[in-house]
Homo-oligomer: 339 residues x 2
């Protein structure tokens, strides 16, 4: 039994147990990562050498596209090929009820009950800040714990959510007939991040038209690339062989192989690492600037002190206070007055 | 004729002409604001005392909800009541073609050709950073130039876009039958920001069902409030009296009156000002930290120097370099090693 009682809660012991297959310890480590507790910085540094083996695959699309069902079906298919599977699902929570909106995760039973799988749901709590950092930390924990595939599922309706799905090795964008045509997907900014486009619920009327539209939009892409974005039709609720999941699996493998061959795979990971550090630095700057007071509190003070000053004036004053000159930023200005 | 040739391009003269009704100068000032040219900081400080008279109304919703048509119809209605109207419309641009996606703005002819109106379109160019700051600066210019109403229109599919619509006195969220039910709108994070919900294209099948669902979700709202969010059906393409625009106009007036009476109006504007300063400070920190090198460049260097270090370690080192101690952030750590 893995369900040891948590008597020893010291971090190194927690890490050791979590990474060696203790599911309760793993759940606890994930909670530390999700809360962004100060102790996680140290834990992350300790587990970082083990990060990098898992393949990360992002799934995103508009609400109602059937993402959870597709992610579960893909997870089950990879399980049958011997992979262990971790899922990080971002659940928008309701500002009205305070809880998660739907019991989507309950529907992932085929994965959640498998001892070689772990499904973790993150509520966004109406706040979008730090979402990308948080999910990335969870994915790092799963990666270090030895899961072969980490699947990240988000609803593609916020830049933060889209960033989560994009910060992966392969990004799958899921659309459905009737929820908007290819131009609407373009407007939502989803097509530019897709490595693979899925038209799910392809047994519905209009599926062929959406596929044709998507292919037409893709044909407009001017850049030369190592990878042609395919459009794959799926019916994820259908357990039969012709539900498109096999084609999706093949496409994900082919995309990764093509990216590895031309070096894009490593470049993409290096770029994600840079993004992660940038987010960490910005988070810390926001909370620590101005003698630990934090940016928000200092702005409130400055507005009191400088009633009626313009936002640009207050910004210049705050930057000067933080030791950052604003020289060279107002070339035409003769009387910059941050005081 | 207002079409004076731009021989004198000095900033104070440009500002004076733009704010006194010269449309060519106004267009140029808007371009300076949109480019975020260094000179705009000074111009903004000069025009800031005149900011605050205009009412700002945000319109957002999923792609295909008919936002442009509704914004135009509302603008035409307010024109008939004597208001001058400015529109800031955020156009997602295609990463494939490099240009704006649709000629939506062309359809705003009834406003664009009116001398008491000004329609300005902003392309997002695939980049979402700075969008809220940019649109806010444009709205400030229109406000200072004396427009009575500034309408901000964005597609509600990104946190930045949603932020634009929310940074107003009144936020109108536009949905349509068939594009997803109330739960999907909740998932998209749109219902929490709505002062007024519009079900546009209400002549389509399913409108009544969406209205009922939205009202049910609204009834779950626990907090006491000075304002009950109404659900209004419109058919913006219909020029007749029963198209719902009158009811929308009334609701916008009632919401503003209620907010003014209880003080929420002023609090909301104060909160938007804080947000604007926070964005300005963060933008400048990002670009000026590390001796003007910028955060992104310094991170790239740090990754070269510290190959294999964890992102949290590199973050601690960069913050220490920027003069920010990370003391107190790793209480359990005995050997913090930023070097």
């Amino acid at each position: 039994m893995n369900c040891s009682v948590m008597t020893d809660s010291s971090s190194p012991a927690l890490l050791e147990r979590a990474l060696s297959g203790d599911r309760v310890a793993l759940a606890r480590l994930l909670s530390v990562a999700e809360r962004s507790a100060p102790e996680f910085a140290e834990l992350h540094t300790a587990l970082f050498p083990r990060v990098g083996q898992a393949r990360r695959i992002g799934f995103t699309g508009p609400p109602g596209a059937g993402k959870s069902t597709l992610v579960e079906a893909y997870g089950v298919l990879r399980r049958a090929r011997g992979d262990s599977i971790a899922v990080v699902a971002v659940d928008p929570s309701s500002p009205f009820t305070g809880g998660a909106l739907l019991g989507d995760r309950i529907r992932m039973n085929r994965l959640a009950l498998d001892p070689e799988c772990f499904v973790r749901s993150m509520a966004t709590r109406g706040s979008f800040g730090g979402l990308a950092r948080g999910t990335d930390d969870l994915a790092d924990v799963f990666d270090a714990a030895g899961f072969d595939r980490v699947l990240l599922e988000t609803v593609g309706v916020g830049q933060s959510e889209v960033d989560v799905a994009r910060a992966t090795d392969t990004t799958v964008v899921i659309l459905v007939p009737g929820a908007g045509d290819a131009v609407q997907a373009l407007k939502a900014g989803l097509m530019e991040i897709a490595d693979i486009l899925v038209v799910n619920k392809a047994d519905r009327p209009g599926a062929e038209r959406v596929v044709a539209e998507l292919e037409e939009v893709l044909s407009l892409r001017s850049e030369e690339s190592h990878w042609q974005v395919p459009v794959i039709q799926t019916v994820a609720t259908n357990g039969k062989n012709d539900n498109g999941l096999e084609r999706l699996d093949q496409a994900i493998e082919q995309q990764a192989a093509a990216a590895q061959e031309c070096g894009a795979f490593a470049l993409r990971r290096a770029s994600h690492l840079k993004d992660k550090i940038r987010r960490l630095v910005e988070d810390r700057l926001r909370s620590e600037l101005f003698a630990g007071k934090g940016l928000a509190a200092r702005i409130a003070e400055a507005l009191e002190e400088r009633n009626g000053r313009s936002p640009y004036e207050i910004t210049a004053a705050l930057l000067s206070e933080a030791g950052l000159t604003s020289a060279g930023h107002s070339p035409g200005s003769k009387n910059e007055s941050p005081a």
